[in-house]
């Protein structure tokens, strides 16, 4: 049987090897073989295997840690007894996780900003002349609101923007349009 290869830095003791395996550092596809070999050689490793998974689960879930004080203590003890090679790795994993937690809200905030940017963008006048133009509200200059024009337009427009009468939704959304007066130079 081919000897399973462990990625560098590979642990020397079975416990280190098991930990490396759980950290995803074992590159061989024969992971089952590693497990079988390790656990057969040392029965206590099977227990370690479960403890390590519990540690992982608790690190990932705050509820688990709060629900069971005993488990919590056991885990703390297990963490202290971790082989030196494994502990930094788990810590690194933990740090990666907490980093992800900090990064995610930032990412969400960015997405929100992008969304707002995207939604506001069409409102920005696209030429400097218009930027200085005066806002005159939602009237087009003859007393009718834009919504009425949009409704009248949609009644005959063959635009394929939606199934059925979805374009009707558009006239409902158009109350807030900003009409700007164009300077003579802008024409």
């Amino acid at each position: 049987m081919m000897k399973p290869q462990l990625a560098q830095p590979a642990g020397e003791t079975p416990k280190e090897q098991l930990s490396a395996l759980m950290d995803g550092a074992v590159v061989t596809p024969q992971i089952d073989a590693v497990l079988t070999t390790l656990c057969a050689r040392d029965g206590r490793l099977s227990e370690d295997w479960h403890t390590y998974h519990l540690i992982g689960d608790v690190l990932r879930s705050a509820e688990l840690a709060h629900d069971d004080a005993l488990t919590h203590r056991k885990i703390l003890a297990a963490l202290q007894n971790e082989p030196p090679l494994v502990a930094p790795r788990l810590r690194a994993l933990w740090q990666r996780r907490s980093m992800r937690r900090q990064v995610l809200p930032a990412g969400a905030a960015l997405a929100a900003v992008a969304m707002v940017g995207w939604m506001v963008w069409p409102q920005l006048p696209n030429n400097p002349a218009a930027a200085q133009a005066q806002l005159v509200g939602s009237e087009t200059g003859d007393g009718s609101t834009l919504a009425e024009y949009v409704a009248a337009h949609q009644q005959f427009s063959p635009a394929l923007t939606a199934p059925g009468m979805l374009p009707l939704a558009r006239e409902q959304a158009s109350g807030g349009v900003q009409i700007v007066t164009v300077s003579a130079a802008g024409e």
């Binding site: 995207w118 939604m119 506001v120 963008w121 069409p122 409102q123 696209n126 218009a130 005159v136 087009t140 200059g141 003859d142 007393g143 009718s144 834009l146 009425e148 024009y149 949009v150 009248a152 337009h153 949609q154 009644q155 005959f156 427009s157 063959p158 635009a159 394929l160 923007t161 939606a162 199934p163 059925g164 009468m165 979805l166 374009p167 009707l168 939704a169 558009r170 409902q172 959304a173 158009s174 807030g176 349009v177 900003q178 009409i179 700007v180 007066t181 164009v182 300077s183 003579a184 802008g186 024409e187």
Partner: protein
């Protein structure tokens, strides 16, 4: 003989395959993409469906519930606005009843074109559209939990917007559509957030939700085909691809006897409204924009014209500036 030498013929064959196949397939791929666009259009008129969609335009987002039912008398649709003012629209074929509960008013209108897909199918002509839009398939994407085929229609010139459509792989129903500006940014979109396609829908689902609407005030804005172009009005330079599809005489709120000229390239449309200029009103040209809709209004002779449509600002401006009026001698 080395192994490397043996690989060369394979490499050349591979290169030939890589260049020839796309060339041969391009034509087929494009025509099947146009066929898919026609399927989208057919699906919406023959399917039962219900769901909630979000309409996003400019800085406004609104959600609505739609129920669509097809029976022997044609197609029925109920649209309920879920945000903002309470509004309901009930359509049976071309007739739309708009319910405004706070005013106890129902407005009755005839729809032509946009809301009614057979009219659209006459306009949606791939042979003509392909002069102004290029079409290509997009990767499969999920919308409202449903796998969708995507289509990108890119405007070939600056006179129109580009579009992206996603339709249900199974039924062909359009589940998401985006209007894109020249930079390829979505400036308007409609997307289902949940939808059920092909289920049995009871008739009570397409009735107005308000009790006792029989005594509500009924308002109608009559519309009739007429002739405006050649009767004093002319468009000096029609923007490429746009054709006159309607010339109408209609009552608008506050403005009876308005004129409306509708132009379309088969996908995008522009309306030119012609109304009497009211003395004392400011007569400087105005422009406006929200989402995909642009507007340009100006005074022409004793008239006030408003050009509006889901096209770029340059298109409404060019049309507004090229509209002329000469009073009959």
């Amino acid at each position: 003989m080395t192994v490397r030498a043996m690989r060369w013929p394979h490499l050349l064959l591979g290169l030939l395959w890589l260049t020839a196949v796309p060339l041969l397939c391009a034509q087929d791929a494009e025509s099947s993409a146009w066929e898919q666009l026609l399927q989208i259009q057919r699906a919406s008129e023959r399917l039962n469906y219900s769901g909630v969609f979000i309409y996003q335009m400019g800085d406004t987002a609104r959600s609505s519930r739609i129920t669509h039912l097809v029976d022997s008398s044609g197609s029925h649709e109920k649209l309920e606005m879920l945000d903002g003012k309470l509004r309901e629209f009930i359509r049976h074929n071309n007739e739309v009843h708009s319910y405004r509960p706070e005013a106890q008013t129902v407005t009755v209108q005839q729809r032509h074109g946009g809301s009614r897909f057979p009219a659209l199918s006459a306009a949606l002509n791939p042979a003509e559209l392909s002069s102004y839009y290029s079409i290509k398939r997009l990767p499969v994407e999920r919308v409202a939990g449903i796998e969708c085929r995507g289509l990108l229609l890119t405007a070939k010139d600056q006179w129109r917007h580009s579009y992206r459509f996603w339709a249900d792989k199974q039924s062909g129903l359009l589940l998401k559509s985006e209007v894109l500006n020249a930079q390829g940014l979505a400036i308007e979109q409609i997307a289902f957030t949940e939808v059920r396609v092909g289920e049995v829908i009871g008739k009570q689902k397409i009735k107005p939700s308000f009790p006792d609407t029989a005594h509500w005030t009924q308002v109608k804005y009559p519309v009739a085909e007429t002739r405006l172009l050649g009767q004093g009005w002319s468009i000096q330079a029609l923007t490429p691809g746009f054709k006159v599809v309607h010339e109408l005489r209609r009552d608008m709120p506050d403005q009876p006897q308005s004129g409306q000229i509708v132009l379309s390239d088969g996908l995008s449309a522009v309306s030119i409204f012609i109304q009497a200029y009211q003395e004392g009103k400011a007569d400087g040209a105005r422009k406006g924009r929200q989402g995909a809709i642009n507007l340009f209004a100006r005074r022409v002779s004793d008239y006030w014209i408003t050009v509006l449509g889901e096209v770029p600002a340059e298109t409404v401006k060019a049309l507004a500036l090229s509209l002329e009026y000469k009073a009959a001698q």
